[in-house]
C-alpha cells in the first residue's frame, strides 16, 4: 500500500509542475509587474527601472520562473497591489474563514446525506425512497448560484432568519462567546446551501450500495442468525458501505473550492473565493496567481486524498 501512495505522490509532482508553468505563463500575459502597487506619481522612472533590473524583470523567462517558484515555496507571493500587504498575509486571513465554512459544510453534508442515503436504500422503491431520489435529482440539477440566491432571498431577506452578508457582527469583541456565535450564525446559511447541493453523490452511492448488499451472503447470514433487522442495517451493512464514502472527501474538497467562489460572492463572506473575485475585478495579479496556484494544489491534494483512502478501503484498486 505504501508503494501505491508513493507512486501516487510522484505522479502529482509533474502535474504541479505543469500547473505552475501554466500559471506562470498566464501571469506573464497579465499587464503590470510586481512594482505597479509601489509606483506613485513621485516615483522616479529611473528608480523603477533599477528595481525592475534588480528583481530580474529582464531576465530570461526560465530564470524568472525558477525565481518565482522558489519564492512561492518559501511562502513569498509578492505584494497585493490593491490591499498593499504581502499576499501570503492576505490569503492566510481569508483561508481561515474559508476553512471554517468548509468544515461546517462538510459536517452538514454528511449529516444530511448519510441518513437520506440509508433510508432510501433500506426502503428501496417505497414512496420515501422515490421522494429522496427526486430530491437528490433536483439538487443535482440546480446551479450553485441559483440556490444560493434563492436561499438568501427567502431566509435572509424575506424571513430575516439569517444575516445577509459578512463574516461576523462588528459589535462583538474577538474571543467572546457572542463573537463565536455570531461567526457561526453567519456561516450557517452558506454552509447549508453548499451541503444541500453536494448531497447527490453520497445519497446515490449509499443507496445503491445498500440495495446491492441486501442480497449478499453476509447479510443473509446475519439475518438468519436472528440478528434484529435494525442492527443488521446499522452494524453490518452501514459499516461496509460507509468506508468508500470517506473517499468522497477528496472530491468534496475540490467541489467546495469551486463552490466557494459562488457561495462566498453571494453571501458576502470574506473567504478565498470572494478574494479571488475581488482580485480579478481589481486586476490584483499577484493575488490571482497565488490563489490559482493554491487552489490547484488543494485540488490535487483532494484527489490524492481520495485515491489514498480508496486504496486503503478497497485493495483491488491498488496499483502495483
Amino acid at each position: 500500500m505504501w508503494k501505491t501512495i508513493i507512486r501516487r505522490i510522484l505522479v502529482m509532482i509533474p502535474q504541479l509542475f505543469v500547473l505552475s508553468l501554466l500559471i506562470f505563463i498566464m501571469a506573464k500575459f497579465m499587464p503590470g509587474d510586481p512594482f505597479t502597487g509601489l509606483i506613485t506619481p513621485e516615483t522616479d522612472p529611473a528608480r523603477v527601472e533599477e528595481l525592475r533590473i534588480k528583481a530580474g524583470f529582464y531576465d530570461p523567462w526560465y530564470v524568472q520562473y525558477v525565481n518565482w517558484i522558489g519564492n512561492a515555496f518559501q511562502g513569498d507571493f509578492g505584494r497585493s497591489y490593491t490591499f498593499n500587504v504581502p499576499v501570503a498575509d492576505l490569503i492566510g486571513e481569508r483561508a481561515l474563514n474559508t476553512l471554517w465554512l468548509s468544515l461546517l459544510s462538510v459536517f452538514l453534508l454528511y449529516l444530511i446525506a448519510i441518513p437520506l442515503g440509508v433510508i432510501a436504500g433500506r426502503f428501496h422503491d417505497s414512496l420515501l425512497d422515490k421522494t429522496i431520489v427526486l430530491y437528490s435529482f433536483i439538487v443535482f440539477a440546480i446551479p450553485t448560484f441559483v440556490l444560493g440566491l434563492i436561499n438568501l432571498f427567502f431566509f435572509g431577506y424575506e424571513l430575516g432568519w439569517f444575516p445577509t452578508s459578512g463574516t461576523v457582527d462588528i459589535k462583538y469583541e474577538s474571543g467572546t462567546a457572542g463573537f463565536i456565535w455570531s461567526k457561526f450564525y453567519h456561516i450557517l446559511l452558506p454552509a447549508i446551501t453548499y451541503a444541500l447541493l453536494a448531497t447527490t453523490g453520497i445519497i446515490q452511492y449509499l443507496r445503491s450500495e445498500i440495495i446491492d448488499s441486501k442480497s449478499l451472503d453476509y447479510v443473509r447470514t446475519a439475518k438468519s442468525k436472528g440478528i434484529p433487522i435494525n442492527k443488521v442495517y446499522s452494524r453490518h451493512i452501514l459499516r461496509n458501505s460507509l468506508l468508500p464514502i470517506a473517499a468522497f472527501l477528496g472530491f468534496t474538497i475540490t467541489g467546495l473550492l469551486t463552490g466557494s467562489i459562488f457561495i462566498e460572492t453571494i453571501f458576502g463572506y470574506h473567504g478565498m473565493g470572494q478574494l479571488f473575485i475581488h482580485a480579478i475585478n481589481g486586476r490584483d495579479y499577484s493575488v490571482i496567481t497565488a490563489l490559482v496556484m493554491l487552489f490547484g494544489f488543494l485540488t490535487l491534494l483532494g484527489s490524492l486524498l481520495s485515491d489514498i483512502i480508496m486504496s486503503i478501503v478497497d485493495p483491488r484498486i491498488r496499483i502495483d
Partner: protein, 302 residues
C-alpha cells in the same frame, strides 16, 4: 416452383431485429410521462425563445429610459424594468437565447473534440493513449473555473466566440474520458478484429463501425453536458465573466440580485431569470437521465 414459393414466403416473413437506438429511447419516453413532458416543454420553450428573440430589436431593448427605472410589472412591462428602465421580459428572452446558443455551441464543440480524441486513443491504445491520458488527468485536476475566469479577463479583444473557445478548451475532457474507456473495451471485440483482418482502414473502422455502437452513450453525454454548460455559462455571466455587459444573458439578469436593494425590493429583476435557469436545468437533466436509462438495458422502464 416450390423454391420460388419459399423465397416469397421468406420475403413476407418479418425478421424481428432488436430495437435500434432511437426506438429504445422513444419507448423509454413513452413509458416515463414526466420525461416526455420535460422533452416536449423543452422543445416548445427553446423554440419559442428563438423565434421570439428573433423578433426583438436588441438596440431598442437595451436603450436606457430613466423614467421607467425599476418599473413594477404591469401593462407596459409584463415583468417590469431594471435599473436602466429596460424591459426585463425582452432581456429574459434575448438572454435565454444567448445563453442557450453558447451552451449548444460549447456542447457541440466539446462533444466533437471529446469523441475524436476518445475514439482514437481508445482504439489505438499504447503510447497515444498514454500521452492523452496524462493530458486528461492534468485537465481534471486543475481548478478550471478559476483558470477560465483568468483567461476571460486577460484575453484582448474579448467576444462571444472567444468565450466559447475558452470554455471548450477546459470542457472536452469529461467526454473524451468516457468515450475512451468505452472505445477501449469495444476495440477488443470480435467484429473489430474481423474487420481488421479484412484489411479495413483504421479510420473507417473507428468512425463507420465503432462509432455507431457508442452513439447512445454519446447522446447521454451530450445532453448532460448541455445542462452543465447552461449552468456554467450563466454562472460565469452571473459573476461578470461571461458575455459582455451590453449583451443580455440569463446570468447577467440574475446578477442584478447582488445589489441588496434590488434583491429585496425588485424581485422581478432577477427571480424570473433564476427560475428559468432552474426549470431549464431540471428539464434537460431529466431528459438526460431518461436517455441514460434507455442506454442501459438493466435500468430501462420501457
Amino acid at each position: 416452383m416450390k423454391n420460388t414459393e419459399a423465397i416469397e414466403a421468406s420475403k413476407e416473413m418479418k425478421v424481428s431485429s432488436p430495437p435500434t437506438g432511437f426506438q429504445v429511447i422513444a419507448r423509454e419516453f413513452m413509458k416515463d410521462k414526466l420525461a416526455m413532458f420535460s422533452l416536449i416543454s423543452l422543445i416548445v420553450v427553446i423554440g419559442s425563445i428563438y423565434i421570439w428573440a428573433w423578433q426583438i430589436d436588441q438596440t431598442q431593448l437595451m436603450r436606457i429610459s430613466l423614467r421607467d427605472k425599476l418599473a413594477e410589472p404591469g401593462e407596459k412591462f409584463w415583468l417590469g424594468a431594471d435599473k436602466g428602465g429596460r424591459d426585463i421580459l425582452g432581456q429574459l428572452v434575448v438572454g435565454a437565447r444567448n445563453s442557450l446558443t453558447i451552451a449548444i455551441s460549447v456542447t457541440l464543440l466539446t462533444g466533437f473534440i471529446g469523441v475524436v480524441i476518445g475514439l482514437v486513443t481508445g482504439y489505438f491504445g499504447g503510447w497515444i493513449d498514454n500521452i492523452f491520458m496524462r493530458i486528461i488527468d492534468f485537465f481534471i485536476t486543475i481548478p478550471s473555473l478559476m483558470i477560465i475566469i483568468v483567461f476571460v479577463t486577460i484575453v484582448p479583444k474579448y467576444n462571444i466566440l472567444i468565450f466559447i473557445l475558452i470554455m471548450s478548451v477546459f470542457l472536452w475532457v469529461g467526454t473524451a474520458r468516457v468515450i475512451r474507456s468505452k472505445a477501449l473495451s469495444e476495440s477488443r471485440r470480435d467484429y473489430i478484429n474481423a474487420s481488421k483482418t479484412l484489411g479495413t482502414g483504421n479510420f473507417v473502422i473507428i468512425f463507420k463501425e465503432m462509432m455507431p455502437n457508442l452513439s447512445s452513450l454519446l447522446i447521454v453525454e451530450m445532453t448532460l453536458n448541455f445542462a452543465g454548460n447552461v449552468g456554467l455559462e450563466t454562472g460565469l455571466s452571473f459573476l461578470g465573466f461571461g458575455l459582455p455587459p451590453s449583451t443580455p444573458s440569463l446570468g447577467t439578469l440574475v446578477s442584478y440580485a447582488t445589489d441588496p436593494f434590488i434583491m429585496e425590493n425588485a424581485w422581478w429583476n432577477w427571480l424570473p431569470a433564476a427560475l428559468l435557469i432552474l426549470l431549464l436545468m431540471l428539464a434537460i437533466n431529466y431528459v438526460g437521465q431518461a436517455i441514460r436509462r434507455s442506454a442501459d438495458a438493466r435500468q430501462r422502464l420501457g
